[in-house]
Point group: D2
């Protein structure tokens, strides 16, 4: 059987490299090109041993878009949309890892010809939620890393209208340093991160908030939400701890998550608190749920952990691509 | 001038060792004994260079309590109270680092003779809050590490009645591994902590919750509180991120903290998010305050960072001892 | 095709757990039992997702040795030999990960009946060197972690008689904390290892020295050797840096390694210095060779990196087992 | 008493910042200026609490050299010499932390006027060795970080002619990431260093080799030397492990180090292997010595640990400055 040719734009960042590694081992996709302006002409090893391969980056402008049936764009926010449009022009389907097409984000302005090439809509690729809408899509907006963890955690409550609209959802999350990308920056040097920990995007101003609020609103949940991300001295992983106000006391809250995710390959609901170690290098989200003791108002504590580069980026992108091409959804993905 | 002789019970744990290091450099205290059953007879270096000194641990039973004008007890919770009582019997004043005398905690049962030796009350040693009550105290209950960070952060609001009694204070905090002590445990080995991060005490069941709620109640704040601690892959430091519901919108919330802590030597209020790096190896609490954007209900984000072994334990104990003996409050303490 | 039943003695240590994970994904072996006295009756997850499995540890005494065609013993040094003998009594072949049968190590004394059950010899399982002798073996002595890295590095010179017998081979090596096992010890706690680095076994007294010297002597190399191991603040990996005195100047030293290892699946010879990152979680040894500049006497610098738990223990054990059973040598092993 | 005004050129790198912190607490020096082109006009906090101070960087060209009695130059190699010359022109004495004036290094070419301003010689500032020659010096060449650890370790043997001239001194050393400076580089990002370890400068080509060999030659030791540095996943610290061939068996080798360094404030000779933890944030070098067992030829193992930014850079620079100005050599330095 022929493999489906796929291309990667923005292939030299952390998400792009993770994509190359996953695609290299994928049973049904093969890498048609890997484009990255900053490393144009350089070669990298993808995978190792028998399945290893040496790839040479082309510049974005030189990417043979029409050779790919599917393009993954891991280009920066704002820079991605034009290339998504160009890919559509030549008939390729697109999984876009930038925020350009995500709910709550304003689409960048494109010149008219490019804008005309875009689909009327790009479904949001939170696979477990939007799977039915992906089948015929031309463009899938792959979720952000924090939103993936947070939304998978909140979905069973939100979809059931159980979140108190007059209360506040408080989300504290922490991410490994790879979440900030691999461009050298003084604050990302080893000496600045080891033995340190700090919040950022404070004052409820992180750019992922809009994506989460828009999705929750689509599910009917319009409670206030406060989101504080933190930077961890680890390479990979996101863990979100959410305190959610309820409309009523729930006798067995965890049963909702167990029920909603029972058929899912990449969501594990557990009675024990998740840890980053449980999820790194996998496409699995681990979720734990506990009633909150010692309060008068009903609330539940939801904890969700993912690998920010896999389920939070490249892994979910491949999962969405599997759905787009009607492959087994777990193809090529570690669990 | 003669130095004041002080003893340390439970001197071989992380807090005890930090106490020895601080006391060894203190201009007005000198170490009369260091007691630790598990290392009885062993010697350790305290400090280095010219100020360094070699100490030999005695067993707790052999500690010459009467040789000390002041005893620091860093014994475990439950085991501390009897030794506090014995120290009082021989006339020593005590700073107790265990939870035995803290608000919200039940005093361990003592045999009648020991119980009779205890003072009617042991003021809580959150120095910046309770300084006036410490002067003549026989026993000071030194605060827990998490409560120190959280309560210093919440105090300006709580004391003014500005926390919405119908809302929920949500506290997420993270601590370095030294917070779990230095007894070997499988889950504290290097390989279990590095590149990992996880919540614990989930379901709002951490034993520090009672101490925080009782203190807040004493300040008139009876809102619900949800507290989730996490374990960080760092050695030292605690950072607490608090989302606090307000009774009213505050035009310039940070001004309250600036005003309340202006005269304090060990509290720094800053516009920038604190990080562990800013505070480790110091007795300083760094606090930042931000209004929460994008919500309908008024709320404020308060972040507080301390070194769990210094301001969260040994440093604050020395600070309290300085107050007890009417010394300069900053004597022997790093800022 | 039926899978070959294999058992693991000492399955709860780091090497034992790594063995379980590798065996669980092996195409031709299946786990018949996992024995570990300290965790008798406890269950663990091995692998995850579709290939995941839940195993319950039995006590060593209860291990059904006769149900296994092959037994891996990851028991401690000294404790392993009797169980190797018992396994031989019931006809199982054995890969022994302890030092009990390794060159340069004294065999523990066994009671006569057990001693009688042992094979006349147990070939050393440095697979790339001793492959031809393994085929019919009843017992294979799996090499130590440091010896694997060091001996693979030195072999091309030693086998050719190119190491100056009047010179000294100086080996400096560093290992991650998993090399010390997973029994809780004060010096292996997170706070003792992070941001630290130190030599151990100093004075040329590490117990692996005898294994390396005996093997080198078997190759005809009897030069002095000084070996200094160090403890790194990482979880996994060993990197050895060796300065080797030569009998003559070599025009292109790296060509010897390229030639000797050209057909090997698990040795990569490279012009660039290896790093731990290149090898962790793989069964690959990466070796780099450089002539030493700025000296009068000819010498070469050899650097070898492996994952101490894979190529240095469980991976090489599976590699040897593959040879024993005439399977593809790479079966079930990550490269 | 008036403090001596000192300036720092290149004040924004790791060594420069460490210098500012030390000088800010120095009892006899005060900072006259801090110059750093890359951060011209920016302000930084130096120290904290009562002794804390806010400094504004000036550009190098704007540094008021004549306001300082002493200039520390932490400028890059090659860029430093002209500014050392300019400082001499206005009468300031200089401690130069670059390699420009160190033994074994070629002086950069200067224009004639500047060259004329230089002193005939700049003594090497390995304080414990060259103290007598520093008193009247105009320029002191502060040693490199690796050379400081290695040379302090080898000096007792080298000065006595005990190193076998026909043998090879093998030095393996490892440094924390701050040794590579604080300019953002892809290979110094957190994700590239954590859980990793690798040699660099391989083939005996590290630029510090010349400095060490020239100094050893000055002591009469002309043995071959092979030096391999490694990069550790820690922030600070250097540990060097040296195997030294001897001209004769030494009955009690450690006694030489004890004897040579008995009067030194910043060298501790110990029977136990040093660790980075023992020395970071101090100006102390810890040295341990062991006879090498199991070899035919006499050799000794010497291990030396320092903080690369303190004793290996800024601390030793202040130590040298103390000698230059006939102050107590330990003034302002942590031990």
């Amino acid at each position: 059987m022929h493999k489906i040719p796929v291309g990667v734009l923005g292939a030299s960042g952390y998400a792009g490299r993770e994509l190359l590694a996953l695609l290299n081992q994928h049973p049904h996709f093969e890498i048609a090109f890997a484009a990255a302006n900053s490393r144009r002409g350089e070669s990298v090893d993808v995978g190792s041993g028998r399945t290893g391969r040496r790839l040479t980056f082309v510049g974005i402008d030189d990417a043979p878009l029409s050779s790919a049936a599917l393009v993954f764009s891991a280009l920066p926010h704002g820079a991605s949309a034009p290339w998504v449009a160009r890919s559509r022009t030549v008939g390729a389907r697109v999984v876009d890892l930038s925020s350009d097409f995500r709910p709550g984000n304003a689409m960048p302005r494109l010149e008219p010809l490019l804008a005309a090439a875009l689909d009327a809509s790009a479904p949001y690729g939170l696979t477990e939620d939007t799977r039915p809408s992906l089948g015929g899509a031309g463009i899938v907006a792959n979720p952000g890393c924090y939103p993936t963890a947070v939304l998978l955690g909140l979905r069973p409550l939100a979809r059931r209208g159980l979140i108190d609209p007059d209360g506040t959802i408080v989300v504290n999350a922490a991410s490994g340093a790879s979440g900030a990308g691999n461009n050298p920056r003084p604050d990302l040097m080893f000496g600045e991160i080891t033995e340190n920990y700090r919040p950022y995007g404070i004052g409820n101003e992180h750019r992922h908030l809009a994506e989460m609020r828009a999705t929750l609103a689509g599910w009917g949940a319009r409670s206030d939400m406060v989101f504080t991300p933190h930077l961890l001295p680890v390479t990979r992983g996101i863990l979100a701890t959410m305190i959610v106000p309820l409309t009523e006391e729930l006798p067995d809250p965890a049963s909702l998550w167990h029920s909603d995710y029972a058929a899912e390959s990449f969501v594990v609901v557990s009675g024990e608190a998740p840890s980053l170690r449980d999820v790194v290098h996998t496409n699995t989200a681990r979720i734990a749920v506990r009633p909150v003791a010692h309060t008068r108002r009903p609330a539940v504590q939801v904890m969700a952990a993912i690998d920010n580069l896999v389920k939070g980026a490249a892994g979910q992108a491949v999962q969405n691509a599997n759905v787009l091409f009607e492959l087994d959804e777990t193809s090529g993905l570690p669990s």
